[in-house]
Subunit: 206 residues, 3 copies
């Protein structure tokens, strides 16, 4: 569990950096960058906790999220041009973070006795809503609606977790296998630029 | 009550189709379409339940909303061009849905012992917030702020319901009368292209 | 406390006017203006109360907020062109409102036994989130992310309040001193057009 907590914090760190980079690219001031980094990093878990009435919500109940975000923004301010060279490392953190966020959210949903499909949705909300908030607040159409099979990877990992949970396999091992499913799908999707199908035949006649 | 529940589900279906059409018109992928359909259909009731602390919130407490949304998105993917021909049917569902959402939200507010004016606001939030979310997430100025006397119809229906409630008339009959008020006003408003007054005299001198 | 409550209502009034002016400038109809005025005025306290699970939330528990907002929108409709001449008065109300919202939010956070830094964040959310919502709903990049050291003033005032709280000084006096810090910083920042530093070196090579 300690390993998972560490990865949770690393994922939070990667999400915060991603938010800080987008915000500073938009010429936001220090507070704007901090807010965007914050909502990107904890927005998903925050919405999940509000929806399932889990108080205190994530960042109120554990200050380590806040310190991690402050640290990430601090680093972004000091080393912005350097961080660009670390984009692959960050992408890896980000991908690992997404997998952990998905499974932690799913586990939390199950521990609240939610229906498995609702628990999977809670996992997906935990993983992707921070990025949606980041995009809405910076006035862009959320990336997730247009590209990458980001959410599909989380869905596949969540389903994997629920299936393996019925087998005589330890929860830790299940966590690692399911996280690997998410990470693998995402890496493959990005590498080969895979996309989900779109709806054809625009009804407005364009 | 069973009739009202059926109409609630039909309204959810119409809202989900409306969200799915907007999202697919924006070239969102399958997940994007699903998310927009989802928030359009249950966003209003979700916000209402969070505001009045009614847990489990709507779609967590009743999975039928989810199945309805999945089915609506599935149909949109299969028959998008056909659905365009059904726009009048959908508009009717949508209008009936709005009226039912308003009154169910109002009733829920009253059952939580809220002040009648707060209960009316809860009804209106139930009816219109899904559309607001749809528009914010697809990066448009919410339609409701600019057109149609959508919200006024809900308000009029809500007030009607509260007045009749004081009379010796059964709750079911009251529901039908008040829903008819909302439906009638909306149909008339759309037919004659009625609008609410706007504030004149732009202070910025344009 | 009665004085603080009066200022709270005056601040709500100023925020509502500010929302109503932005919305009417955007040609929203009466309902649109009402909604924007509403979220601008109570959005911050509403989010705070949802986050810390303080039910009934602000405007549900005290109808005076609603009446104040209705009155502000009513005045905006009647006297829009005149209100432009009052911009300095409104700016003063707004600034006083921000200071009171910050400190009331902070006090509420402390009364819920939150960590001081979380309580300060609650104060800042109370003060600034209404404006963020206003901007998101009118499809603009939130002002706070780009200009003014608005949030920094709230932060400084919050820290002042927490420090003085440890001293043998009455809470009312502390409130006045800390509010003055916020008001002074904001007035100076606006007068001299101060800004927070921005992140340099766009990583995308522009």
């Amino acid at each position: 569990m300690s390993l998972i907590y560490t990865i949770d914090i690393l994922g939070t760190f990667a999400f915060a950096i991603s938010g800080a980079l987008v915000a500073s690219d938009k010429k936001f001031d220090l507070f704007g960058v901090l807010i965007i980094a914050f909502v990107t990093a904890v927005g998903g878990g925050m919405l999940r906790d509000i929806l399932i009435n889990a108080h205190p919500i994530n960042w109120i109940g554990d200050l380590n999220y806040l310190w991690t975000i402050f640290f990430a923004v601090f680093l972004t301010f000091l080393f912005k041009s350097k961080i660009a060279y670390l984009s692959k490392t960050l992408f890896l953190f980000d991908t690992i973070g997404i997998s952990v966020f998905t499974l932690l959210g799913l586990q939390k949903g199950l521990s609240f006795n939610l229906h498995p499909i609702i628990a999977i949705i809670m996992g997906m909300i935990s993983a992707v809503f921070g990025g949606v908030l980041r995009d809405v607040l910076t006035n862009k159409v959320p990336l997730i609606f247009e590209k990458e099979i980001y959410a599909s990877a989380c869905l596949a990992g969540g389903i994997t977790y629920l299936i393996i949970k019925e087998l005589p396999i330890s929860d830790n091992l299940n966590f690692i296998i399911s996280a690997s499913v998410i990470i693998t799908i995402r890496l493959i999707a990005v590498k080969f630029n895979l996309e989900l199908p779109k709806v054809k035949d625009d009804i407005f006649g364009k």
